[in-house]
């Protein structure tokens, strides 16, 4: 039981580390601030989810200790990470940072009177 618990926890923590590394690579490779914010906030949220779930399982299965604090940490990371990404991108757009020129579509700039369609 202990060995299985340790193995499961280790798999989760390794997955979390891999996702964190990949999100760091994404921050370096992506072309503009908008896409970089995706990599920085989202993948790292998933990385935190995996690592903390692994720690939770380790304490739960190996030490028979249910740590509510780890679950709370996941909850708060998930509550704050998207707000950070939203505010960074909003500030970037308000101060006129251009999108990387692959795709010119920018509804927020073109559509100032908010006549947005019901999603095509």
């Amino acid at each position: 039981m202990t060995v299985i618990g340790e193995a499961v926890a280790a798999v989760f923590i390794i997955a979390g580390s891999l996702v964190s590394i990949l999100s760091a690579v994404g921050v370096l490779r992506f072309p503009d601030v908008y896409t970089r914010a995706h990599a920085a906030s989202k993948s790292s949220a998933l990385g935190v989810l995996f690592s903390l779930t692994g720690a939770f399982l380790y304490f739960g299965l190996v030490h028979n200790f249910i740590s509510i604090r780890l679950l709370l940490a996941i909850f708060f990371v998930f509550l704050t990470a998207p707000v950070g990404a939203h505010v960074v991108l909003r500030a970037a757009h308000h101060s006129g940072v251009e999108l990387a020129g692959i795709n010119p579509r920018d509804d927020l700039k073109d559509d100032t009177d908010c006549s947005c369609p019901a999603g095509d």
Partner: protein
């Protein structure tokens, strides 16, 4: 809805006190007893049973976990692709949700799902401007996901 939950917690607490044991297990037993009592009295209570909404919330969480997982794989593939041949852009979407809480929850879920960030909410509070990683191809699935989120949120917040 919250009054039912409070009543349930009150019955559980009372059960624990009557049993003279301060333990989690007595509280859980009392909670189940209270749930049974509320279930029997459900026709006299104004709202539908709160368990239904709790179940809707669990379903929303499940849907969110699924989306988080699959769209993470998508973004990781874009990170690792040798040529960055995706085209990020901003599109707008009108939501049918009402109320600040519902729209906040929807934006939170959209932003947590990799590949999409809510950048701005329009003047009337109904129009979401979403930055997406891949506009032509990704948008269709993204919009489908968002509508699934909307439906799940409605099941939680509105009495159906």
């Amino acid at each position: 809805m919250s009054s039912q939950l409070l009543l349930n917690l009150f019955i559980a607490f009372l059960w624990m006190l009557l049993n003279d044991s301060w333990s989690g297990s007595a509280f859980m037993v009392g909670y189940l007893v209270g749930l049974g009592l509320i279930f029997m009295m459900r026709r006299f209570l104004p709202d539908s049973l709160y368990v239904k909404r709790a179940w809707a919330l669990v379903k929303l969480l499940g849907l969110f976990t699924k989306e988080l997982f699959f769209s993470s794989i998508l973004v990781i593939r874009q990170v690792l692709s040798p040529r960055m041949d995706f085209s990020p852009g901003i599109f707008s979407l009108r939501t049918s949700l009402q109320g600040d809480w519902e729209i906040t929850l929807l934006s939170l879920l959209i932003t947590l799902t990799p590949g999409s960030v809510v950048m701005e909410i329009g003047e009337d509070g109904r129009c979401l401007y979403i930055h997406a990683m891949d506009i032509p191809e990704g948008q269709r699935t993204l919009v489908k996901t968002i509508y699934a989120f909307e439906k799940a949120i409605m099941e939680v917040t509105q009495d159906v």
